[in-house]
């Protein structure tokens, strides 16, 4: 288990480094359109081959890595933020707050996530910013329930009662005392959410409503490649592997954290 975790962390760290360094590793030339090298197989010159416009896939994947990771992180941070705030308010104040917020959570859970995503994209138009916001805005409900449950069980504990007796404000109690103590499961949820966000992004790209061209993302590279599966296996293979390894790492890490939390 430990080795798996190290590998997972290693992969995620390497990716993050690649994402951050991508702009420095690439020159203007790399990833440029080159009509004399359409759909070439991986070679010394193009490690991952080239696409239908002759662009170097390795360079595109490098850019896509930073795009996809950004999308996933922003979505997850948004989702955690919404989930924590809504869950904490519901749990802490109880009564009408709790009922109406949880009713809202229930309503959100009643809609197919895809319906929400499609409607919002239809209204706002598909672009990278909207994709991040939408994934985040449709995935916070689990976190909210979790935080609410934690807060419910924590709020009658001595240290909270003490804080209250000392006249601490509600906001202070929630964010200094309750939320930090509920963070364990939230972090697990966030790591698993990272994996989910990468998957959702690739699904949106499959449906053509994800990150817009020519900006590459793992998802749209993969779905662009599916049309040429028979001639250019590399166009689906490399993006597919990137997605696969990343989700696998995030899930492995998430599970490890979870079992650590449980024990």
């Amino acid at each position: 288990m430990k080795r798996d975790c190290l590998l997972a962390v290693g992969w995620l760290a390497a990716l993050s480094a690649a994402a951050v360094l991508a702009p420095f590793l690439l020159t203007n030339k790399s990833g440029a359109v080159d009509f004399s090298h359409l759909l070439e197989a991986p070679s010394r010159f193009h490690w991952f081959g080239t696409d239908a416009l002759g662009r170097d896939l390795f360079a595109r994947i490098l850019v896509a890595t930073s795009i996809s990771l950004t999308v996933a992180w922003v979505a997850v941070i948004l989702s955690v933020f919404l989930g924590v705030v809504i869950g904490a308010v519901a749990g802490y104040f109880g009564g009408g707050w709790d009922r109406s917020l949880m009713a809202f959570v229930n309503i959100m859970l009643c809609f197919p996530v895809f319906f929400l995503i499609l409607s919002v994209i239809a209204v706002l138009g598909p672009n990278i910013f909207n994709v991040m916001v939408i994934i985040g805005a449709t995935s916070w409900m689990g976190t909210a329930r979790l935080v609410r449950a934690e807060v419910l069980s924590l709020k009658e504990r001595e240290f909270v009662l003490a804080a209250r007796a000392l006249g601490a404000s509600h906001a202070r109690i929630i964010f200094r005392h309750l939320v930090p103590n509920a963070m364990g499961p939230v972090i697990v949820n966030a790591v698993l959410g990272l994996a989910a966000a990468v998957l959702v992004e690739s699904g949106l790209s499959f449906l053509g409503i994800g990150v817009q061209p020519p900006t590459p993302s793992w998802g749209n590279l993969l779905s662009d490649g599916k049309g040429v599966l028979g001639v250019a296996w590399w166009l689906t293979f490399f993006p597919g592997v990137m997605i696969f390894l990343t989700i696998l790492s995030a899930n492995t890490l998430g599970e490890a954290l979870q079992s650590k939390n449980d024990s």
């Binding site: 288990m1 798996d4 009713a103 229930n106 309503i107 859970l109 009643c110 809609f111 197919p112 895809f114 319906f115 929400l116 499609l118 409607s119 239809a122 209204v123 994996a195 998957l199 690739s202 699904g203 499959f206 449906l207 998802g219 993969l222 779905s223 599916k226 599966l229 689906t236 597919g240 997605i243 696969f244 989700i247 696998l248 899930n251 492995t252 599970e255 079992s259 449980d262």
Partner: protein, 323 residues
């Protein structure tokens, strides 16, 4: 108890109205209308023709009025007709439900069989090399993008090996086959979709199963049973497993609405006419009555699921009722 039940059911009504109203609002506010989607980009579709369509569908009236009309009909269980082809919404959904449901149920069975098996094995042989590998494989299955694995399997088993059909539910000459051949034909068509759908689901169940069983095995009653000298097999399968399965049953209960959800991506790749695609196409065609029909069904099932879960708990634990 009956009063509690009644209160719970009545409480669902405002929730239900809330859900349908929000859905109604969202789909009508989304840009585009059924009229555009229908004319595609046809240079011959005149402006007047479009206006005619708008009137026909009642889209020219205020939103609240439209919602009122819709609700009135729903009470009489009339979901209206599709804007796209005039077919009854109930019949459209009625055709897609069995397809999605049968694949979901088959998938669920596969996932349960594999997931419970893996989970039990994992719990019994906790930390062994095989356990680690199986956990890894289940997780790997969960981590693959659906359409990628689908295309790879279709290419391998359908095109290269020619063992299984690539897509669809039947062969084109299905009607000319005899009963036995028909059964074989359907079964062959179901192998790949069910396999792909199962691959992504095993990890979840096997993890729950493994953790739940591990948890039970640490309980006092297991220790007692072992101390009494009961054979390990009996302790495991008779005592611990029974209790460990309870949380799995809860998860099953919660997954009931999901059984009808279907997935567009998966259904598009395999050309399966299920709920996911019906919903996706309806959204793109702005087929409001069908969209609303599906959302109502989804909301109904989810609320029903929640209600059942609550009621079960209240039966098991009377304290909940008092709150």
């Amino acid at each position: 108890m009956p009063i509690y039940f009644l209160k719970r059911v009545l409480g669902l009504i405002p929730l239900f109205i809330g859900i349908t109203f929000i859905s109604f609002l969202v789909i009508h506010l989304a840009p585009g209308s059924p009229v555009d989607a229908k004319g595609e980009f046809n240079p011959k579709m005149t402006l007047q023709a479009r206006e005619k369509l708008r009137e026909l569908y009642g889209l020219d009236r205020p939103l609240l009025e439209q919602y009122g009309q819709w609700t009135k009909k729903i009470i009489r269980f009339d979901f209206g007709n599709s804007f796209v082809d005039g077919e009854k919404v109930t019949s459209k959904i009625g055709k897609a439900v069995p397809v999605t449901l049968s694949i979901s149920v088959l998938t669920l069975l596969c996932v349960l069989a594999a997931g419970i098996g893996l989970g039990v094995f994992g719990a019994v042989h906790e930390g062994s090399r095989t356990d680690r590998w199986l956990t890894f494989l289940a997780l790997a299955g969960f981590s693959v993008p659906t359409f990628w694995i689908s295309l790879l399997l279709m290419n391998a088993f359908g095109v290269q090996l020619r063992l299984l059909p690539v897509s669809g539910l039947y062969s084109v000459n299905f009607d000319d086959l005899n009963a036995w051949e028909k059964a074989v034909d359907i079964a062959r068509h179901l192998v790949l979709p069910v396999a792909v759908a199962s691959i992504t689901g095993v990890a979840g169940i096997s993890r729950y199963m493994r953790n739940s069983l591990l948890n039970e095995l640490k309980q006092d009653y297991v220790r007692t049973a072992r101390a009494k000298g009961l054979p390990e097999k009996r302790v495991l399968y008779h005592h611990a497993l029974k209790n460990a399965l309870l949380p799995i049953v809860t998860i099953l209960g919660l997954s009931v609405p999901g059984l009808l959800g279907g997935s567009v991506i998966f259904e598009s790749i395999f050309s399966i006419p299920g709920m996911g695609r019906l919903f996706f196409n309806s959204v793109f065609a702005r087929d409001y009555p069908v969209i609303m029909g599906i959302l109502v069904l989804g909301a109904f099932l989810t609320l029903l699921g929640n209600l059942l879960a609550d009621l079960t708990y209240s039966v098991v634990d009377p304290r909940i009722r008092l709150k």
